[in-house]
Assembly symmetry: C2
Homo-oligomer: 705 residues x 2
């Protein structure tokens, strides 16, 4: 029996653990009728959104399925690709759906638990986040395991293989299996892009719209039930920060595993090489489950205690993985391959260091965010300039960290002697970085649950103390969310490199005689580099404009309701929450099309004109600019948010001061940065690679250059 | 006699024409005593700044000279490099100095002439701008011609040459000459960076500081003599937009010529190949002189007539060049090389197309800027998001234009058969784009003269009509300035590619056995690409922060004077203008160090660690991101400025409306974008290449990888 069996076992364990946590969350008390009513409204809104989004996305998947089917019948793809594409999208969507279901059911329960103690609140919110984390890794491994075993069975018959002359049977099998598996990543990436962009537009349109009219114009507090957009705002947290993020990290997770597995073939590591990333993922699941039991805090805990509690869980998981992966590599691949162990370590370490860098630039306990808060005294223009400069500066460390990690994992894996071994090492470092995903995603996804619990506490008038507890949980969530984005972005850079290599392999498989000319001074490559470099800018422009337009329609609607519904301000009449939810839903649906097309159409068009070399240039350019822009946007947005919170805590004149007004402008600009455009960029990078891989055959035979 | 003799002839003609124009400008009447007095104050401030800046820069050049001298004596460089470095810096600084001298003398004369008619005003301002244009191209060709003839004489003695075995004498000579010439570009780039960054910080600190306290807090009009920062603001236009831009384009101009000449060696084109870009430059000078005679308008001219007048001059020059360069290539290089003619055409055309794209995105006659103005109704946050999105979107066209131009000039020049021929063609297309520099720089540099004339008209109370005329000239200057920046950026991208190739050649010269491994999937190249990609972000962050800090000290000083000088507001006491000028000078001096170090130190550090392949990756990464960021910043800044002006013209509520207040925030954020960070990025790209070339020997022998 081979080690790969641990993958499905890990998947089942993860899903069972998620089931157990979900049952525990659902057993908790929902609180008063008022709380139940609000929670129900949020749940309904979220369901309405998801239903509509999934309907729209289903059409896209249907069309693409037919396109891929035609390509399969005309010999450009194997017949499994269209189906793999579907399952990738399906499981990604399912992860988001389950995560959101449990999150919307945990909101009121967290608020209710926070009435007892901070620790109880943390427990419910964190458990809900952990459900999401383990569903993502569990379903990811289910999908991977299914295709692995199915394809292995299929290709065990040599008649199904078109082995090249002189190629060993195992090599031919590995190549066929991993190439086919790779393409289900395109389904996951497409789904992730829709979920991130759509959810990001929804949540920020509602947030910005609710704040601009409610807080700024009408002067009512945040989460005030009189604000017609307040339910949409809460729904947004769930569809954007939960469902969107779930689909996003599902994609990152399976992407890193399958791209590394695909590199095993060229590296000549055979089935053992394929199984390593899969088994690593299973090890990560067990380590993450152990880690969750260390996340607890005592009553009267400060923010710092809370952060320590969350960190303890993650670090214990990372340590466990660091220990277990040594024998895994040593006995799985042999003593001469132990260098790969250090590639895994470098990935784990890089993930942690990127997190620290993110925290330094976005937390108000350090200088950058405090200086940014001080910039607010100069008015909105200075706080914008300061935030942009902060974001730009903050890109240096992550780039250096990833750079060192790439070189380290390449050379310890023997890249100097064998290029393909080095690439496999880079892929493994991405797997290492994401192996703790079960628990890091839990610490990340619990944030929006706490945020929503705060909203419910406010609307149900649970009292000052409860709100303070949920606020403590929520504001910590800002930091962990920023860290989570750092993970997603950092692993995306590493995975993207592995995918570029996989792309080249898949070209080689189709046309062994193809001669690459990837010199950076080849004008075709250079032009590809330029076009790739501009992609993230175009994509960000589209998504930022989309948020602006959607927010404007919410502003108009809220103004209309304030104006037309008599008695609303006095609390005598209820606002029409549904219309706001509906507007956000429709905007998100409509606006996610153009950015998604950028990701899918560009690699095909560039490929048809510039050919394979141009595509590689484009992928590299998009990876570089996309990575830098994503870090810039995430950190600038996080810092603006926390600078505002810092002032609201009473510093620099506090709430209502001119500094606060300026800081609110910064926060509003930061909203689409950190929650829409920025976190979609890592998906964009990988989606372009995936599309290139799937369309490699077409490009090879039909390009101009 | 060889054709190269046209280069020094062209240089002399350009300088004589500049002399003639300067005499004409100085003959014009300065106007009233009050006007003279104000103009004198601006002149003194500008001189004080330049004196201080040049002193500081002289220290830098002294230190670098010694470093280069040591490297020359230890065999890493030829002995000419340190001296070439000095002359490059010297002539660049001299261009800026002369341009600024004439601009500060033309301010009051333009205001005075505008009392007679719009055409008279245009005539004086444009002549002053043209002095700058022709001084830049004239001195550029003087520097190039001097070194060319000197080195040719020196290397005519075969004993001075270390020709490789089997290399023809001419090839060895061309190689030795062009390699040495290339390095004076580092002097020009260093000087340009200091001038652009220092001038950019000065001008925006004064501008922002004057506006924030004068216009926003005290409610006095722009250019009001009671504002203590008003003279500093006027000085800033001269040291930033005139002296800074002059040094910038001097660098672009000589950079494109010498890098193309350097490629002639590898392309095997011998001395003819070296002379073509030099003769092209001379042709451009004559064509530009002819063009200037077509820039005139009749009284009662609208803004559109003015723009047509300026365009007519540029287009006639371009047409002349297009005609003359055909026989130049045909008879200079032979019938089989006529493809190179189309490379020149593609450069000329790309320059014009980038200009049109810039105008579309930044002029208020088109939709993007009007939509941005409409965004102002939503408050400062929406106008910021809208402007950033506009800037990001506007990068697509220039990237596609440059991409097509690169491929076209590469392939028409025979790149498919001979890589080096193709590169030479790309270099020639940059020379083609910049060949009209004499006149395009004139249409660009006249803007700040008109801007200052407006200030003098305001302060000397010359009446509504005069101010309207200078305003018409000034606002047109915004569009031509944006176009000029598009030229500088577009040519920088093309030149940067030529410089990367030159870098590789200079490595080959030092170590013919060196094996490049520039495949984009080589991890060293990739990491270099990432580091290069992040450079423009770091650089922009530094310069934006610098403007913020400097502006803050001006704000404090203006507030202090308003507070402490009794009778100032009533016009009974004079403000202390000198202190504001002095603060700006010192801030600019201090703050330009860090960004300059980024440009100079990074390529050396990266080289010592990653080696030659990593440096090439870094240069490519910096070129891609730098280009895209520069376009983004220039266009976003220009659009914010013009959206504000559009509202001030009475649209969307006009001056004082809440939309106007929001638009002012956008404009203030745009100031460092378009006048400090953005326009410095093209210099940064080339400076890193130049530094890499000069330090190639050191890197080859001492790098880790």
């Amino acid at each position: 029996m081979e080690a790969t069996i641990f993958a499905p076992i890990g998947a089942v364990v993860a899903l069972l653990f998620a089931w157990y946590l979900a049952a525990k969350v659902l057993k908790a008390d929902e609180g008063s009728d008022k709380m139940k009513k609000i929670s129900l409204a949020v749940r309904r809104g979220a369901n309405a959104y998801l239903k509509r989004q999934y309907t729209g996305v289903a059409i896209f998947f249907g069309v693409m399925f037919i396109v891929l089917l035609i390509m399969a019948f005309t010999g450009f793809l194997t017949i499994f690709v269209p189906f793999a594409f579907l399952t990738g999208g399906f499981f990604s969507g399912l992860s988001g759906f389950i995560g959101m279901k449990i999150a919307t059911n945990a909101n009121d329960r967290t608020a209710n638990a926070a009435q007892h103690s901070l620790n109880s609140g943390l427990h419910v919110a964190f458990s809900a986040g952990a459900v999401m984390g383990f569903v993502v890794v569990g379903l990811g491994l289910v999908d991977i395991s299914f295709w692995y075993y199915f394809l292995k069975f299929w290709y065990s018959d040599p008649a199904h293989l078109a082995a090249a002359a002189g190629q060993a049977l195992e090599d031919a099998q590995v190549q066929a299996i991993t190439t086919a598996m790779l393409t289900f990543g395109m389904g996951a990436s497409s789904m992730a892009l829709f979920a991130r962009v759509g959810g990001g537009i929804f949540t920020k349109a509602a947030d910005v719209g609710a704040d601009l009219v409610g807080k700024v114009e009408a002067g009512i507090p945040e989460d005030d039930p009189r604000n017609p957009a307040v339910i949409a705002d809460n729904v947004g947290d769930n569809v954007g920060d939960v469902a969107g993020m779930g689909a996003d990290l599902y994609e990152s997770y399976v992407g890193s595993i399958i791209s590394t597995a695909a590199l095993a073939s060229a590296a000549g590591l055979g089935f053992s090489g394929v199984s390593i990333p899969m088994v690593m993922a299973a090890v990560g699941i067990i380590a993450s489950i152990v880690g969750t039991f260390f996340v607890r805090t005592k009553e009267g805990a400060t923010q710092k205690n809370l952060l320590t509690a969350l960190r303890r869980g993650t670090w214990i998981s990372a340590l466990l993985i660091a220990i277990v992966s040594y024998p895994l590599i040593r006995f799985g691949l042999g003593a001469d391959k132990t260098g790969l162990y250090f590639a895994i370590l470098s990935g784990l370490l890089a993930g942690i260091l990127i997190g620290i860098s993110t925290e330094y630039f976005t937390s108000d306990t350090y200088r950058p965010t405090r200086d940014l808060a001080a910039d607010s005294s100069g008015g909105p223009a200075t706080v914008i300039i300061g935030g942009l400069a902060l974001g730009m500066k903050s890109t240096v460390f992550p780039v250096v960290i990833v750079g060192v990690s790439v070189l380290a994992s390449y050379f310890v894996s023997g890249g100097a002697a064998d290029f393909n071994h080095g690439l496999y090492g880079i892929g493994l470092s991405a797997v290492g970085m994401l192996s703790t995903l079960g628990i890091t995603l839990a610490t990340d996804a619990y944030g929006p649950v706490a945020d929503n619990a705060g909203g419910i506490a406010e609307m149900s008038e649970l009292g000052e103390e409860v709100r303070e507890r949920t606020d403590a949980l929520d504001s910590l969530g800002n930091t962990t969310a920023a860290t989570g984005k750092g993970f997603a972005i950092g692993s995306a850079a590493l995975t993207a490199l592995a995918l570029i290599a996989s792309y080249m392999d898949s070209v080689k498989v189709r046309d062994p005689s193809f001669q690459f000319d990837l010199g950076i001074t080849n004008p075709i490559v250079l032009v590809g580099l330029f076009i790739g470099g501009v992609l993230p800018f175009l994509f960000s422009a589209f998504t930022m404009n989309a948020v602006g337009r959607a927010a404007q329609s919410i502003v108009n609607e809220v103004r209309r309701q304030f104006h037309e519904i008599t008695g609303l301000m006095e609390g005598k009449a209820e606002p029409d929450y549904e219309t706001c939810v509906d507007i956000c839903t429709r905007s998100a649906q409509k606006e996610m099309v153009a950015p998604a097309l950028v990701g899918i159409a560009t690699p095909i068009i560039v490929g048809l004109i510039l050919g394979v070399n141009g595509v590689v240039g484009m992928l590299a350019g998009a990876t570089v600019t996309g990575f830098v822009m994503a870090v810039m946007m995430a950190n600038a947005g996080g810092a603006w948010d926390n600078a505002k919170k810092y002032i609201e805590s009473g510093k620099l004149g506090g709430k209502g001061s001119s500094a606060h007004k300026a800081a609110v402008v910064g926060d509003t600009v930061g909203d689409p940065f950190k929650d829409t455009s920025g976190p979609s960029l890592n998906i964009l990078i990988k989606l372009t690679s995936m599309v290139s891989i799937v369309f490699a055959g077409l490009i090879l035979s039909h390009s101009i250059f």
